[in-house]
Every structure is written in structure tokens, then in C-alpha cells.
Symmetry: C2
Subunit: 546 residues, 2 copies
Amino acid sequence: MLGLMQDRPLLISSFLTHAALYHGDREIVSRTIEGPIHRTNYREVERRARKLANALAGLGATFGDRIGTLAWNGYRHLEIWYGTSGSGLVCHTINPRLFPEQISYIVNHAEDRVLFVDLTFVPLVEKFADKLTAVRHFVIMTDRAHMPETTIPNALCYEEIVEAASEDYAWPQFDENTASSLCYTSGTTGNPKGVLYSHRSTTIHSLSANSADAFCLSSRDVVLPIVPMFHANAWSLPYGVSMVGAKMVFPGAKLDGPSVHELLEGEGVTFTAAVPTVWLMLLQHLEATGGAITTLKRVVIGGSAAPASMIETFEKKYGATVIHAWGMTEMSPIGTLGALKAGMDSLPYEQQLAYKAKQGRAVYGVEIKITDDDGNELPRDGKAFGHLMVRGPWIAKAYLKNEGGNILDKDGWFDTGDVATLDPEGYMQITDRAKDVIKSGGEWISSIDLENAAVGHPAVAEAAVIGIVHPKWDERPLLIVVKKPGAEVTKDELLKFLEGKVAKWWLPDDVAFVPELPHTATGKLLKTKLREDFKSWRLPTADAAE
Amino acid sequence: MLGLMQDRPLLISSFLTHAALYHGDREIVSRTIEGPIHRTNYREVERRARKLANALAGLGATFGDRIGTLAWNGYRHLEIWYGTSGSGLVCHTINPRLFPEQISYIVNHAEDRVLFVDLTFVPLVEKFADKLTAVRHFVIMTDRAHMPETTIPNALCYEEIVEAASEDYAWPQFDENTASSLCYTSGTTGNPKGVLYSHRSTTIHSLSANSADAFCLSSRDVVLPIVPMFHANAWSLPYGVSMVGAKMVFPGAKLDGPSVHELLEGEGVTFTAAVPTVWLMLLQHLEATGGAITTLKRVVIGGSAAPASMIETFEKKYGATVIHAWGMTEMSPIGTLGALKAGMDSLPYEQQLAYKAKQGRAVYGVEIKITDDDGNELPRDGKAFGHLMVRGPWIAKAYLKNEGGNILDKDGWFDTGDVATLDPEGYMQITDRAKDVIKSGGEWISSIDLENAAVGHPAVAEAAVIGIVHPKWDERPLLIVVKKPGAEVTKDELLKFLEGKVAKWWLPDDVAFVPELPHTATGKLLKTKLREDFKSWRLPTADAAE
């Protein structure tokens, strides 16, 4: 027996039409690539998104075509998000920080028909424009006055095509499972793989992300999404903020401390979100200048783990509550968020901080569990750590063109590749990547915990821990260290320093000193390369065991 | 091109399993029909809901069967909600305030297989138990010690069937469009009609209702749903509160001022919701006793329009923000909610109050518009009033068994039967029921506005306004008045009193005095009866016009 409710599809265009109707005057503020601050509002963005939808149809884009963007957070990028997805095209946001050969691979793999390019990235695209086999039009996201000299063939001017297009356009209704947007994950191995979101998944995800124990976004908020729109949907903010009609502030290309601080204070920002690196720059700037934060209430930290000291500084010194977040491109991206539960507000701050330094609880709509290598569920005791498995309506079931094959287990769970603990209150903490865990005598050692402990030593600039084959224990940890310029430290001093900070049997069997560590284009440690470089490393304990 | 997100259905069981896993210890407090306050938690409710699902299967209920409830708000009713919907049965909540013949009609029309009955309603059910053709089992919602002597055939004891059932039960996965619950609307004409909700509509509705500009429910809230669970899903609270894991407090049968006040203060309630009548009783009690409200932050007023004075009293005297709500059984029920928009907080309070006294803005997910008799959309200028039309994924497309035939227009809009204005900020105000509007010379006169003005006279106990046929104007208003005991007022005095309070051409052409006005079982004015009684009334102005 089916219910008798209206068969209205959940469509992304409805976020913007709702905002334009009920919050038409609410501002969208952007720091432009051209320089000045630009101000528009939801009514105008919705009108121009309609014009853009007509313009794209005029360029030959048809339902389901992928439309690429290489762009910072700004109002034109927002217009493209809605103009494409809203009209049934697929908005493909591309990370410009990838290597050029990765970007051209992605554009070709997605078969992007049109590529929108911010001024910043014109020189980048010039390097491979002739290799983009499916792209029929390049659009530079600026006005005629700022159009650059470029070797990109037949480059169009964004403002000209929008200006020329009719605003007479009705947002179409279609199946909510239609693809809306596309984002590639850049793993540490193999080619990037495309995650294809739908209108349905995006809508449900945004509703849940907006809820009171998550982002708690209201029309009265002023939101600064610093996390890039090319990075996992900017954690759903451009969608969710539109849905509630909050004021939105876009930082453009300037993510440095002074620029971010200027926007926070100048625009009365109440809510913002970024990776720890951005917050480090802001906090250093505030420290150096004695600057204050006056309107900010909530700050989301995600992308990588937020140090407890950073959380404490925001909360104690600047009066902004930290929401620690974890997610993945494959998860739209939100998985867990660190809101405190009832009664925790009255715990001593140190205990609150211990919860906040974890990655948070699963939001409604996401199921999570941890399992051992055989797929058995492990206890939620805060101690056991295992493969972090996730399931839910905004989590990928496959990659574009089925790259990588089947990615779900028989019960529909997706293996995040992370290793984590779950505590009795439901808070999750990532302890490692599964492939980086050191398997010693049937037990797991977290490489990340060891690295975090090692970088606490004043002479250590950066540290990596990998497993080295061991005749008795299968694997034992090797600590690889980059020393700070001019600093000196010995193997024995480092091992002594680690004693008491980690379990005794976790202590590395050896330490190697190197001038630098290998990284991916987006700054992740490239442990595959390290394992290759150190594959014939002989641990001193190996001799003793044989 | 379809997205590649997991095909996980949106199911009601997930609200409760999420609560049990992440907020297992969070309390569910109930004032029982038996007398004492009862305390349980989400873990226990989820466990007992599983037992109940097994018990119902044991009683022969199969997927899609309707299971009726005649019950107050309490933990057993909550267990029934989840035990039925969660297992693929349809939870049919029945309004015990209807006439007995309406209730037996509804139970037979829905073909309820099992009927759960609170102790209060055992005498009611005894009146028609033998007429309930489809019901195979009656279950009295109490324990063995409190089982009453009853003529209800083979009455089962709730605690006994739950106790006897196994808790070994896995919540099944099925199509999210499956019917989850059923509620009949009692109009003023014809038989009640069944609105059949789905798991999908209920989930999306709850997510939107929980959002920051709506109820803004968090795990840290303590929620007292006074609006009955038999009345339009208790405005989604038992669902939404579970979803976030807030503490839930159920008032049972006692909705009087002292009982409600005791729960508010005793349980630390932060959020509550009820119709104006309940709030009137509470405010009178507080006034009489000098009682205080200390923990309450938000109070939802819906069901009928909240007087501005009531809103002001809650906000100014008791420090609780009022959320004025409007909806319908056909809308799950939430349509509009009165949260202030950005910047309105700094308006003078009188202006804030003017917005708050309207019924609010459409929540995300609900489309609303007003139209004239020909279906043309009317301006959102706060003045034009027209048929209020709604559309969205949690709004009915038909009634059970297609009673009443097609209820949507060609574009999918549902006519609410209300007449309303929409102002430029998006706030909606109901001005009348469409069938009660007086159509005078092609213009509309609001019967409700006239009635509200008339009851302002100190001698008027109750007033009704209906249209009377007029040879020149088609219709002109007749004011029908019940005087307060011992009070006297004349027609001329009343008309003089109304002058300046309504437009001059709205002034009634005549006044009739009656000892009492007819009402429906749920207390609505029965204007069909009035129109019948006064159909041959001759207006004095009619003679002059001929």
C-alpha cells in the first residue's frame, strides 16, 4: 500500500527559487578575482542563473551534459551551480590544485562540454586546452573589460553570454535521481574517480546538514564558506545557505589571514567553514595584530583533524563554538559533526574538548560502524579501532563509468578506507588510513598517532610512520623524520621522547632522517612513495628476531 | 543520466534506531492515564517497539494493514507509532473527540485490523465495538493490574502482549513511498476523509520541520508535545524529536493549566506546542497563581490563529519566543511558520508582533500562492486575498479510496479551502474559509475579520457572519450574535461599534441575536447549519434595492 502524497521531486532549483521568493533582497557578497567587493542578492542570482541556463542551451548543452568549472568561491560560480544543475546539466567542479595532467584527464573522463574558468586559472588551462577532447566552449568568468589575452581557443566572456541570454526560463521538473553534480576524488593511487551526486541526495544531505545539531543555519545567519566550491560541494554550504536564505559571503582567491579577517568583521559573519590550514593562518594573523572576532558564532573545521589547541583558541579566546566535521567526497560530504549532546555543556571544559577533538557523531541519515578485517562489527567502546564503514542516501554506490568496480559490500556498506574508534556516546575518531595502519603481531598500530606524537618534539618539522616487514611481527613501525632547519635530534632522543606518549609496543623500531617527505598535489603525505623508497629498509630488530 | 548515490529508502524506523544508538539514555517522560509519571528512554522504546512489531505479526497483522489508535500522548502511543510504521503497518491515529458514529465510520472505512485503546476511551469504544467490521483485536493500553471490566470483546492487555513477544526483530527495508500512517480530516460537510502519509513524506517533512527557522530542534532540547498525536501527527514532533534525540515529555490526558505548568517546570521543558485553547488555560493559571516559566524557550501556537495578545504575553511576560504555525492534516501538517527574518529582530516590538500575528512563511519544501476564482495568481502585496493553494512532497494528492475524487488542479496544486493574503516579506495570513467569504458586488468580505471585530464588544459572547442573498450585491453580510449572560446590546449599537474597525462597505446589513451557535464535534463553527437556518432571512437593504 503506497502513501497518497504528491509526487514532487526534490530538485536543487527549489533551493534558489525559495530563496529568491522569500529572501530576494538578502545579500550575496563576493571578493572578486578582478579586485573589488561585489554585492548582489538571491533575486538577482536566480534571474541570472535562468539567463545562464538559456545561454548554455544556446551553446548546445543538453540534458545530462557535464559542465566543468575551475573557479573560486564567488557569485558567478554560484550562478553556474544553479544554472547547470537547475536546468538538468551536471555541474562538474574541478580542483585546480591538482596536477595539470590530472585536470585534463578529469575533464576528458567526464566529457565536459563547456568549461568555465576563473581569471586565475586561464594560464593553467592554456597548458592543456588543446588536449580537452570533449570541450566545445571555454568561458572566462569575467566581463569584457577584464578579458585576458589567451591562447585558449574561442574563449567566451561570461558576462557577455549572460547579458545576451533571455531571462525567460522556467526551471524544469524531472526525476530527482537525475545527476546534478560531479566531483573527482584524488586518491594517492591511480587516476582520480568521479562521484556523481543526484538532486535527491543533495537535497536530503542539505536538509540534514542544516539541522540544529549540525550547522543550524537560519535566515538570520551570515555565512562565509571558505572551503572551496571545488572541494566536496563546499560541504553543502552554497546549497544549504540558499535553502534558508542566509546572507552569503564568498572569499574569492584570497584565503590568507588578513583577507579572511577583513570579511569576517566587515560583513558580520556568524558562521564559517574551512580546513585547519586556513584557520592556522587566521589565528596567526590575529595573534600578530591583536585582532578581534566580534560577530562569529560557529566555525566548522574539517578536511583534516582539528588540533585541540585550535578548538580551544577559537572557543576560549574568540568566543566562537567549533564544529568539528568529518566527511568525504564520496559522502556529499558530511558524515559526522561534533555537536555536544545534552548535559555535556556542564562538563569541565577539558572533557568537552576531548569530545570536540574527535570527529563527531553521525548526522541523521548516515549509518556508521567499525569492523575488523573479516567484516565483524567491533564494539563502540572508544578503544577498539577498525575499518570505518558508512551507508546512507547521500553516499556513493559507484564511481562514474564504474571506475574501480563494485565499491559496496553485500549489505550496501561503503568502506571509507579510514580506521576509527567509536565511543559509547557515539563520537568517532579517525586513527589512521587502513592502508597505513601497521599490523604488528595481529594488532594494529596507528601511524597517525605516532606521527602526531613525533611532531610534538621541538626539532621535528614533519614526520611519517610506515610499516616495515618484520620476520616475527609481520610489520613494525619505522619513523621517518624531517628535522627543522638548524635543529638536531638523534634516534634515541626521539624514541625516549615518545615513551609514555604511546603504548610501549607501538614505539618505532627505527628512525630514518630525510631532507623532505613526498606529497600529493593537494598536500597529503604520499605514503605509497615512502613505502616504495623504504621497501628494502632493514630494521635492527629484524636481525635480533631471526 | 542518473546520479550514483546509494538507493537507501527514507524510513520512519531510522528516526528511532538513530535515537536509540546515539541518545539511548535520553528520557521519555509520560503522565500516564493510570496516574503516576512514567520514565523510559529511547533505547527501551526502540526495544519495546520491536517487541510490539512481533506481537502485531502474532496477531495476524500483515504488511500494509491499518492499525488504529484511540490514545493520548504517551510512551505506549509512541511505541505503537514506531512498532506499526516501522514494520510496514499503517498507524491510524483516530481523534476521540469526534462523534461516536464518525469514529466507527472511520475505523470501518480504514478497515483497521487492530485497535489500541487508552483507558479513557474504553467506554467510548464499548458503544460501537460490535459495529467495527474489520477489527480482529482490541488492545487496552495498560497493564494487567489496571485492566478494566469491559464489554469490548476479547480485549487484550498491552503490557501482556508486549511482554510475551520476542525482541528479536530487524526493522525491514522497503519502498519509501509505502504508506506509513493515516489520519482523517473532519470537514464541516460529508464524511471524514483519510490522508495517507508515506515514509518518504514523513521523513522529508520532519527534516524540514526541525530546521533552524522552523522548530530548530536539537538533542539538548526538552520537548513537550501537547498537540495530540491523534491530531495531524502532533505536528511531526514525535518523529522530529526522536530524530534528534531530544528529551520528550508527554502530557497524557491532562491538558489543564496546572498539569501543563507542572510538566513545563518539573521536566525543564524548552520547547512545546499546542492550540490556543491550551495556552489560554495555562496563561490563566499562571495569572491566577503568579506562577513562573523558567526553562521554556520556544512555544508553537497553531491549529487556529494565535491572538496577538497571547503572543505578546508569552514573549514579554514569560520570555518564550512564539512560533506561529499554520498547516492542515492534508499537509502532514506543516505549511507555514512565523520565524522572523534577518533584521526584523531590530524592528519595534509592535512591528515584530504584526508579523508574528500572521501565520508565517512557507517552510522550505512547501510552495504556496493565492489565486482568484479563475485560478489567476494574485499579488503578494499583503492586501489581495484569494484561494490559498499549496504544493509539495508532503501534501496529499488524493484521499484514501479516492473519496472526493481528484483534489489537485492540472499543475498539481491543492486548494486548502482557505482564503489568505501574502505580504511582500512572504508572511501569510488566513482571512477566511473560501466557502464562508461573502461575495459582495464582485469583491470579497472576510467573515472572520467581521467576527473578530464583533467579539471585541463587551456584550458579545460569540459571533458568526454569513452571506445572505442580495438582489443588487449578490451577497451581503449578516452578523449573528450570542450575547453574554445578562448583557444587552442592540443592532445599532453593534454596527456603530464596528464602524472604523472594518471597511465601511464591509459593515453587516443586519444583525440577528440567537441563544447559541452550532458547532462541529471538534468545536468549529458549523456555518453550513447557519446558512441553512438563515436561508430565508430577508435583509432590510434588499427591499430598498428592489
